[in-house]
């Protein structure tokens, strides 16, 4: 009789065992082994083209219904209002007729819920503004609000602050922490996020270079991650 190993008291949320992904014959991820447990706050660093996006999408495919995903940009519908874009986070949890109705004549209950969520990301009073009229930082806040409104316990975010100025970046990253119990966030800029996340994964050329608690990550390690090819 073997007992459950004591080193794994919390179940695995994501588990990749030797995953490789190739597009048009070109390897994007090579033989990835990765386990992420519930409650972890993970940041993925790596140069552009390292495979961060592909890795995150792979995780999304594992648990689509429990996960909220924040994209770098172009993920909102610019012609729709803030309300509709935030509400879109819960489209798969509602019936099609409820969704259609909300498009034309929003339900009071949903409006109240969305209003409460956008207050948390600092967008009070913008409920009916068209997303195309908002600044880049405000648009990313809408994306965060959509993730919060989705009400799931896992957050995946792909370079969520890449197109936002540095002042806004810090604020948005802090907000991400409160979206879900577990988050996996990829970032390009290593100066952000070290104080927000507890575990750091370094990705380079489709492979995991290191996977350490934040406290053990040295500047040399990071510099090495971004070395020229």
């Amino acid at each position: 009789m073997s007992a459950v190993p004591e080193s794994h008291p919390i179940p695995n949320l994501f588990s990749l065992q030797g995953v490789s992904v190739a597009y048009d014959g070109e390897a994007v991820l090579k033989d990835i082994y990765l386990e992420i447990r519930e409650g972890e706050q993970v940041v993925i660093f790596g140069p552009s083209g390292a495979g961060k996006t592909t890795l995150l999408r792979r995780l999304l495919e594992l648990r689509p219904d429990r996960t909220a995903f924040i994209h770098q940009d172009y993920a909102l519908v610019p012609q729709l209002s803030v309300f509709h874009n935030v509400y879109a986070g819960s489209l798969d949890q509602n019936s099609w007729h409820h969704n259609l109705r909300n498009l034309v004549r929003p339900h009071t209950l949903d409006v109240e819920k969305v209003e409460a969520v956008i207050a948390r990301v600092g967008l009070e009073g913008k409920l009916w503004d068209s997303v195309s009229d908002l600044s880049g930082g405000q648009q990313q806040r809408v994306a965060v609000a959509r993730a919060i409104f989705r009400g799931v316990n896992v957050l995946l975010a792909d370079e969520p602050v890449a197109s936002v100025d540095s002042q806004q970046s810090a604020a948005i990253l802090q907000m991400l922490k409160n979206v879900a119990e577990t988050s996996v966030v990829s970032l390009h800029d290593v100066s952000l996020g070290m104080d927000v996340f507890s575990r750091v994964i370094g990705v380079r050329a489709g492979q995991i270079e290191f996977d350490l608690p934040t406290a053990d990550v040295s500047p040399v390690l990071l510099e090495n991650l971004y070395r020229p090819c």
Partner: protein
């Protein structure tokens, strides 16, 4: 690209050698003088007498476009299915007037005939263009919606808001086309503006004709004031109410039509006996079909192709020469305003009306048809190319003389676009070339028109099918050429 263009131009010149471009009237200039005098002194009083025709023009166009959108836009979601594409292509390839010819025997000279004649080909166009708009649209917002979202919701939240504006602007452009179609349907007898226009021209009442034309321009130029999004439901509902007043479909006529489109050899014995029985005469029917295709079909197709190719060349040259008129790299504000007005008037006038006027002047030959179709299409292409040219920013050291700037900067930069526009309109030019046969040149329309007047529906339907196949063929060649040259019309939706 240059080689291809020169190739097309070469074909155009060779076709011109085969084209009959004689002036047959004795003194065209006297007639032109009378027309100009009419244009200067329009008889506006007649408009009150023609109010029903003007109202009909509107009602046909509104009902036609409403049905076209209602059928075509949802079809665009299934445009990836081959049968849908094929049916839409065939339906599109048949001109509104030919559709009217087909419906006349069923419903008679009735509003339903006019509405269906517009609705059916427009549904095909809407399906195609909406599918293209969706394909060109940004797909990222839709792909960022939650995984489990159902298809309808995904479309409503992720696709529709993104493409809605393009849909809207395309529909309003298309409504302008529907008004033109509706007016032109009058020339074959339906109770719209064209009916009185034709009478006025035929009887030389140019003051009346001018008044009718001006009323038509007014209708089109004022579109932006009375076609407001909120008013659209009112216009549509009102039009259908008016239409419903005099709808009468006789179902016997449909079975009658089904009988009459059968090839004559199959009906002959029954007809002679008076029993209307149908005989399966495969050999004779085959011979009948071969004769029809070999004589009228071949001659009509040949003349249609000759006319199409000449027009293609002339349209290209005209557009290349005329687009600087509306381009700020060449003319100042005032001159551009004048150029714009000229191009708008020319492209607003239905090519059928232009051809009709030119034939009055010079007699029936290919010359009036060439000029009419080239002017109308050239004005559209010049407008679009000019708009593209206006987006070019020139460096300070670019040539200062207009002609140098045209040849070394602007034309090279817009040429691919212009060629793409031209090739896109190729099938439309072919459609128009076929239809102008009704005015007495020997393109397919001539033989279709004669078959209809002789009550030979069986022949008409075969010839209409030939014209449809010709158009579909030209469309596929155009697509191949555009793909090979790697040119595309981009996000321009006011081309078909």
């Amino acid at each position: 690209m240059l080689k291809t263009s020169l190739g097309f131009l070469g074909v155009s010149i060779i076709c011109l050698l085969f084209a009959d471009i004689e002036v047959t009237t004795i003194d065209p200039w006297i007639e032109l003088g009378r027309m100009l005098k009419g244009a200067a002194t329009p008889d506006l009083r007649v408009l009150w007498d023609f109010r029903t025709a003007i109202l009909n023009t509107l009602v046909f166009a509104i009902c036609g476009i409403a049905i076209g959108v209602a059928v075509g836009a949802p079809l665009s979601l299934f445009f990836h299915l081959r049968p849908v594409r094929v049916v839409c292509a065939l339906v599109r390839a048949v001109h509104e007037i030919f559709w009217a010819f087909l419906f006349l025997p069923i419903v008679g000279l009735n509003p339903v005939c006019g509405v269906l004649a517009i609705a059916i080909p427009y549904a095909g166009v809407f399906a195609k263009v909406c599918a293209e708009i969706i394909q060109e649209a940004d797909a990222r917002p839709a792909s960022a919606l939650p995984y489990g979202t159902d298809r309808l919701t995904r479309f409503a939240y992720g696709v529709l808001p993104v493409v809605f504006r393009s849909f809207k602007s395309y529909s309003s452009y298309r409504f302008e086309c529907a008004l033109r179609s509706s007016a032109v349907l009058g020339f074959v007898g339906l109770p719209t503006l064209g009916f009185h226009l034709e009478t006025a021209f035929r009887e030389g009442l140019y003051c009346e004709a001018a008044a009718l034309l001006y009323a038509f321009y007014l209708l089109i130029f004022s579109l932006k004031w009375w076609v407001r999004p909120r008013a659209v439901p009112v216009w549509v509902a009102g039009s259908f109410l008016l239409l419903a007043k005099d709808v009468s479909i006789q179902w016997d006529n449909i079975s009658r039509l089904a009988y009459e489109i059968l090839p004559w050899p199959m009906r002959r014995d029954g007809f002679l006996e008076g029993s209307d029985t149908i005989a399966w005469t495969a050999v004779e029917t085959n011979q009948w079909l071969l004769d029809l295709i070999g004589n009228q079909g071949m001659q009509g197709t040949w003349d249609t192709v000759v006319l199409t190719q000449v027009v293609l060349g002339v349209t290209g040259l005209f557009a290349a020469a005329a687009f600087p008129l509306v381009c700020h790299h060449f003319w100042n504000r005032n001159t551009r305003g004048l150029g714009n007005l000229l191009l708008i008037v020319v492209r607003t006038t239905p090519e059928y009306v232009l051809a009709y006027v030119f034939i009055q002047l010079w007699g029936p030959s290919m010359l009036p048809a060439i000029l009419a179709i080239s002017l109308h299409n050239g004005a559209i292409l010049a407008h679009l190319t000019g708009a593209r040219a206006n987006q070019i920013t020139l460096k300070e050291d670019s040539p200062s003389r207009g002609l140098d700037r045209y040849g070394y900067e602007i034309l090279p930069r817009t040429f691919g676009q212009l060629l793409a526009f031209l090739l896109y309109r190729w099938e439309i030019i072919a459609r128009e070339s076929a239809i102008l046969g009704i005015l007495g040149i020997y393109t397919l329309g001539f033989f279709i028109d004669s078959a209809i007047s002789d009550n030979k529906l069986d022949q008409a339907i075969v010839l209409i099918a030939i014209s449809a196949i010709l158009n579909v063929g030209i469309d596929s060649i155009s697509q191949v050429v555009r793909r090979k040259l790697r040119i595309s019309v981009g996000k321009i939706t006011t081309l078909t």
